[in-house]
Every structure is written in C-alpha cells, then in structure tokens.
C-alpha cells in the first residue's frame, strides 16, 4: 500500500465546487494577463508612434526650410546677373526686379546691394539707400558665388543697424535672417547682394504644420542659434541649450530620434535633422510626459474593460453554479419520485410470487417460475432502494445528524451484522482495531453503511477459506483511515477508479453476481459528503484493498458546513 501518495492525492483532489472556483480563477488570470500584455504593448506602441510622428514632422519642416532657402538663393542668382551686366547703372536697374522678387516671394523682407566698403547702393527700401553698413555684423561673408546664410540680426531692415541700438522697453523684438551672395563683376569689383529673410516665415510654417498637436519645433543654425520656434517662445538669436549634446546624438548620421533632452524642459521624444545643403538643424519633439498621459488614458480604458470582463466572468460563474445546483436537485427529486413509484407495484409482485412459491411446492416447474419472479423482484427492489438511497444522499445529506462516535464500534457492528453471511460462505474475518477509542464526528448510520458495503463487496470476491481484514488507524493528526482487505482476484487496473461511478461494475462481476452497480457509488458520495475520500488498489500478493479516509472532529464540522 502506497499510503503517502494516496494521502497526497486525497489532499489535492478538490471537491466539485472548488473545481469551479479554480476554473473561474484561471479564466480571471488569463483575462488579467491578456489585459496586462495589451497595456504593455500599447505603451511601446505609443512611444514608437511618437518617434515616427516626430520624424515625419522633422522631415517636413527641414524640407520646407531647405526649399525656401533654395528658392531664395535662386532669386539672388537671377538678380546677380542683372548686377553683372549693368555696369555703372546697376543701382538704377536692380531696384525694379528686386521689388518684383519682393512681391512674389513673401519670405523676403527686403533686398539690398552693398559694395565692398559696406555702402548700400540700392535697396527695396527707399530709406535704406546710401547708408554705410559695417560688414562685420554679418559674421562671415561669402568668398565665392555660393550664397552664405548669415547669423540672425536683431533688426527689421539694414538701415536699422545704423540707428540707435538702444532697445526701448516693451518694444517688439524683430529679427532678420540675411542670405548674402557675392558678385564679382568683370572689372573686378565686388558687391554683396543681401536678402533679409523673415524668420517668422519658418515659424508660420511650423504653426501650420504642427497645428493643434502637442509637438514643438525649433529651427536653428549649425551652431545652435535659434532661428524660429513653435509653439514655445525661445529667444531668437540665442543659442539652444544643449545643442552640442543633441549634435552628438546624431553622429555620424544627419538625422536621428532619441528619448532625452531637447529644446524644451524635461525628457522629450526628439527627432533631429541637420540639412546638408544649408547650415540648419530642425528639431521636433514631444514631451515624454504627454506620451505617458496618452498611455494612462488608454490604461484607464483597459482597466475598465478588464473590470467589466471580471464582472461578466463572476456573473456567468454564479449563473452556471446555480444552474448546476438546480439540475442536480431536479435529478435527485426525479430519482426519489420514480423509486417510490416503482416500489409500490414491486410489493405486489414480491408478495404474490412468495404466495405462489408457497402454494406450488408440489409443482416444481411452476414453483421454479414463481422463484424466478421472486428473485428478480428482490433484485429490482434492491436496485430501487439503492437509487432512492443515492438520491437521498444528494438531496438530504446536509440534514444528517452528525454525532461523536467511536470508529472501532463501527467496524465491530459491521462484523456482527455480516457474521452469518461470512460463516455461510466460509470466509474468515479479522478486525484490526486500536486499543484506545478513536472518536469521529460523523453520521454513524451512513459510515456504517459504507463499511458494510465495502466488506460485503470483499466478501463477494472471496473464495471459501479466504480472509477479510478490516481495520482502522490515524494517518495524519486529523485523518482517520479505514481499510478493508480481501484475498480475492483483485480489480483490473483500469477499473480501479470507474467502480465508484454509478451503474459501473467490475468486469469480473458483470456476469450477474447480484450487484446493482450503485453500492460503491453510494459509498463514495457518503465519504465525499463527510469531506473524505475512498479509493481502491490491488495488493501485489493478491486481492484488493479499499481505503476510506475521513477527517476527524473539526474537519468533519467544516466539511458539514461546506456541504450545507
């Protein structure tokens, strides 16, 4: 007997309601895990979408800035030709086409032609002509025909450079972005064509492109000088804090996206592009906090959906449990009713067949027929009684009276009850009982019924001269163990569990040895109702052993409470 394994299996085997609870728990866990996975996946999706979005906007804004400067450079190139071919009449002949450029290209604020000494020869501004400009203000000047984008100047027009530089408090701050082209005439004279670009032109495009999104954009020079920004108001002309670190992030590429420091405060999702054609850098960024907010918003929806799923699962489990209970009750009620209805006509059959048997003692053939009717009636009565019994256990066991009894007495009672039958079959019986009383809180009649059934079962399989051993011991501090062992033919291995199912008999007894197929099923139900377990196993030396485990004292009470 492998006792520990049986006990272990007894311990983990849950009652029917626990199986349902496990099922609900597993489903709930699956739902919770699914929701958790989706939430985690969505978090990565949000960040990755934001990266793609900032990249897209950075590409758009960079492209716009580059195209604008390309067109501006083209316009300066066209005007340069006028200067080159006009000789001394340059000043007069340049103004009209320059005004035309001004009217068609709205990013030009003004155009002016300056000689190498800084004298403004002609300008689209009437006021600006003949003024002397310090060429140093532009920083580096072009050395060949390639136009140079100068640093941002804090003036609206060139003539403002010569005006009083004092800033009036509260005055509007206006900046210009000079694009300068060098013109070398055939007589080796040098001119500079200066186009002042409106930096707000880039900010306007940033505003239109970004719209109501929570993205922000900054256009700077390579050295980090801010040219335009939207929607945050950064001081134009000043250097972007941390621009060197941003450039470092890109190396050796010209574009990149990362999470870290940007133009705005706090952690940002930043996309940066540096233009190859012009010394410009475009940043588009979104605060990481905004991405988290998106995620939290989504999270709240998922939590809501998850909670709803839990509620639905709980409701469905409750409905299923109620339905199962109701079905079991209806089944038990049906069996009880049908059993009762079958027993009434059986009394007549049994009574009259017994009468017939007595009156036909002198007619053996007829008597045999009455005998067959009587024995068949008896079998049917046993079947009906068992059916009634099993239905009673299902429907009324909760009302059974539990009492404190000595388990040894139960074995002794069964021995006394079955003694005549044992003698008649020449089967020996040995009771192995402890010396001290073993107190058990249980329904004494039902446990007695279990023991009687199991012993009667053993007797059925015992040949004359063989022995049945019945005994009890305590295997755990709170578990009582009855066992009934015989020396019969044993039970086929694959039937060890099935024999406890209703209407299932061992293949060895199917030849009609008198069983109804309900005896062991009744036993199992009674034992389960007590919170215990019953199982069978073969003995290697021959025969079978039935183990009945019952919880002692408090365990019995708990079990009763559960079943009620």
């Amino acid at each position: 007997m492998n006792r520990p394994s049986i006990l272990m299996s007894l311990a983990v085997k849950p009652p029917l309601t626990r199986q349902g609870l496990w099922f609900v728990t597993v489903i709930t866990l699956i739902v919770a895990l699914s929701v958790g996975w989706i939430v985690w996946y969505e978090k990565n999706e949000i960040v990755s979408n934001d990266k793609r979005r900032t990249e897209l906007f950075a590409r758009l804004l960079d492209d716009h800035a580059v195209r604008t400067l390309d067109v501006a450079a083209l316009a300066l190139a066209d005007l340069s030709e006028v200067v080159r071919t006009s000789g001394d009449a340059t000043a007069n002949r340049l103004r009209a086409p320059a005004l035309q450029v001004l009217g068609s290209l709205t990013f030009f604020r003004s155009l002016a032609l300056i000689d190498a000494s800084g004298l403004v020869l002609t300008s689209t501004r009437e006021l600006g002509q003949d003024q002397l400009i310090d060429l140093q203000v532009f920083g580096s000047l072009p050395i060949n025909e390639s136009p140079v984008l100068s640093r941002l100047l804090p003036v609206r027009y060139l003539e403002d450079l010569t005006a009083d530089a004092r800033q009036i408090p509260g005055a509007l701050k206006v900046f210009s972005l000079p694009l300068i082209r060098r013109i070398q005439t055939q007589d080796a004279r040098t001119f500079y064509l200066v186009g002042l670009l409106n930096p707000d032109f880039f900010a306007n495009f940033q505003a239109v492109t970004l719209g109501d999104t929570d993205l922000s954009a900054v256009l700077t020079s390579y050295t980090g000088g801010i040219i335009s920004s939207y929607p945050q108001v950064l001081a134009l002309g000043t250097k972007l804090a941390g621009h060197l670190e941003i450039i470092d992030q890109l190396k050796p590429r010209t574009q990149g996206t990362y999470i870290g420091a940007g133009a705005s405060e706090g952690e940002q999702i930043v996309s940066v592009r540096t233009s190859r054609a012009w010394p410009l850098m475009t940043l588009v960024e979104r605060p990481m906090s905004a991405a988290w907010n998106d995620w939290f918003r989504l999270l709240s929806w998922f939590v809501l959906v998850g909670a709803l799923a839990f509620v639905v699962i709980a409701l469905m489990a409750r409905v299923a449990w109620r339905s199962a209970q109701e079905a079991a009750r209806i089944k038990a009620e049906f069996i009880a009713n049908i059993s009762h209805e079958l027993r009434t006509p059986l009394q007549s059959i049994l009574g009259f067949s017994e009468l017939g048997l007595m009156r036909t003692q002198d007619q053996p053939r007829l008597g045999g027929m009455f005998g067959d009717i009587h024995s068949s009636g008896q079998r049917m009565l046993a079947l009906v009684n068992d059916l009634l019994d099993i239905s009673k256990i299902d429907s009324t066991f909760s009302q059974a009276a539990f009492s404190l009894i000595d388990a040894r007495q139960l074995v002794s009672d069964v021995e006394s009850e079955l003694a005549p039958l044992l003698r008649a079959r020449f089967v020996k019986f040995e009771a192995r009982l402890p010396e001290h009383p073993v107190m058990l809180r249980a329904d004494a009649l039902r446990i007695h019924q279990v023991l009687r059934n199991v012993v009667a079962n053993a007797m059925k399989f015992s040949a004359p001269g063989q022995k049945i051993i019945a005994g009890l011991d305590i295997v755990l501090p709170d578990t009582l163990h009855f066992y009934v062992q015989d020396e019969g033919c044993g039970i086929p291995q694959n039937e060890l569990e099935n024999i406890f199912e209703p209407f299932v008999q061992s293949s060895l007894t199917k030849d009609g040895s008198g069983g109804t197929g309900l005896g062991l099923a009744i036993c199992r139900r009674i034992v389960l109702a007590h919170g215990g377990d019953i199982r069978a196993e073969n003995i290697p030396t021959g025969g079978a052993i039935f183990h009945i485990y019952l919880p002692l004292r408090e365990a019995s009470l708990r079990s009763k409470a559960e079943h009620s």
């Binding site: 009217g103 609206r156 707000d200 306007n204 940033q206 505003a207």
Partner: protein
C-alpha cells in the same frame, strides 16, 4: 371717356355709380405708378437686376473654378426677388463702378455689403443697415509677441492699412507708439504681413474672414470693444421713396423672420448681423 362708361344704362345697372368712380380712380393711379416707380418697373419687366461684386468673399463671391455664386447677399437677393415675385438677374459691379451702375439704372439695387460711408451716401440712397463691422487686426500664427489688441500699439510694431480704406484715418488717430504703413498696389496687405514688413494689418470682418479662410498661418485679433463700427446696407438710386420703403420693408422682414440670421450663419458672417 366718362360718357362712354356712364352712358350705357345696362352698364349703370350692372355697376353702381360709387363703385364706378372708385374703379376709375384706381385705374388712373395704377397707370401713373407703373410709369414712375422702380418697383413697378421691376414688376413690369418681371426681373430684378442686382448689382454684385463677384470678388467679395462670403458676401457675393463667384467661385473662379465652378462659376457658382455664393455668399450672404446671394441668398438674400434670392429672398428679395422671391418676395417681389420676379426673376433675378445679377449685374457685375464693384465699389468703383457702383454709383454709375445704379444711376444709369443698370441695376435696381446694390447688394454686396456696401459700407455706408459719407462719400457714397452723398451720391446714393442707403437702406436700413443689415450688417455692421468693426475693425479687426490680422497677424500670423508665428508672431507670438502680438496676442491681443492691446499688444498692437507699442514701440517697434508696424501696422498696415489699405490705402483709401476707412480704417486708415481711424488707425492714424488710434496709434500712438506703433507706426502705420499705408499699403498701396502693387503690394497687398497679406504679402506685407507674411514677409514681416508689417506685423499686423487692419481690416473689416468680411476681408478678415477671406484672408483667414485662404491662409492657415493667419490669426485674427478682435478688439475688446468695437468703437468704430461701419454699417453695411443696400444701395439704391436716389429719388424713389417708394422703392426705398419697399427695400426697408424687406430688410426689416429678413431681420424679423430669421432669414438674415440663417444666411449669415451659413456664410460665416453671424458676428456682423444687425439684430
């Protein structure tokens, strides 16, 4: 003529004498009215000729691609023709040619939100006003230093106005620190603004709406209180009091029955409606 009608006994028996006199009077009056009033002339011709300026966005605008007319005064001119029970004919006009068009009777009414300024009022008759507009500032979304009306009049700000518009004298009086630039053709206010040569320009509501609808980078700034309000009305040829009364009846009716409100809502002119 009298003897012709009264001489017949049978006729006298058919029509009693006082009724006859009334009928004669009515006939005489109606023949006289049809010869002199604009309304009668419209009824006789069976059509109402309305002068419109087909470039007036939201008021009387002809879509250059579909040639379809739309705007508040297109809806209201249909309503006027329906009230008179005549067909509608549009005559292309403009603010420059309107006076000539009305005086030479090329059209019976000018319906394109015509500002009732003194210069026009001296040559034309205006109906009761049905819309009015204050002045508005237009700037770009990239210009974040000018957010409210109060930000305009400060040092360094350049304000643009269209040459000859009624805003020019108003702004000249209003601005104390900002400088005023009068924009003349071929330059236009929108390009001056986008290039940064002006920081804001001042316009009326219909033009502001037009610019806003055309350019996404434009922002409109409304003053806290409209101190300068110009009424808009329908222009008529002077000298026909009955036609003026009829047009005023129409203006009162569209204000009362919600047609003006509905048309204004549909074309984005609701803030201009005179209740």
């Amino acid at each position: 003529m009298c003897s012709l009608f009264t001489g017949s006994r049978a006729f006298r028996r058919l029509v009693p004498r006082p009724w006859l006199a009334f009928l004669l009077l009515l006939t005489a009056l109606s023949s006289q009215v049809s010869a002199t009033t604009t309304e009668a002339r419209i009824r006789d011709a069976g059509q109402l000729k309305v002068c419109i300026w087909p470039d007036y966005y939201g008021v009387t605008y002809r879509n250059p691609h579909t040639r379809a007319l739309s705007g508040i005064d297109i809806d209201l001119s249909h309503a006027l023709a329906a009230d008179l029970g005549v067909d509608l004919v549009y005559v292309d006009s403009s603010f420059v040619t309107l006076v000539d068009d009305l005086l030479s009777e090329r059209c019976e009414i000018g319906m394109f939100a015509i500002g009732a300024i003194a210069q026009r009022a001296s040559q034309l008759t205006f109906s009761n006003s049905y819309m009015q507009s204050g002045i508005y500032a237009i700037t770009t979304k990239g210009q974040r230093q000018i957010r409210v009306w109060g930000d305009i009049d400060r040092p360094g700000v350049v304000v643009g106005v269209q040459a000859g518009s009624f805003m020019e004298p108003i702004m000249r009086d209003m601005l104390t620190q900002a400088s005023l630039v009068v924009v003349r053709p071929p330059m236009n206010r929108e390009k001056e603004l986008l290039s940064g040569r002006v920081d804001v320009f001042i316009t009326d509501y219909p033009n502001g709406r037009r610019v806003l609808d055309r350019n996404d980078s434009i922002r409109l700034i409304a003053p806290d209180i409209h101190r300068e309000v110009l009424p808009y009305a329908y222009a008529l040829k002077p000298g026909d009091q009955s036609w003026l009364v009829r047009v005023n009846q129409f203006v009162d009716a569209i204000k009362r029955d919600g047609r003006l409100e509905r048309a204004a809502q549909q074309h984005g002119m609701a803030p201009m409606v005179v209740k």
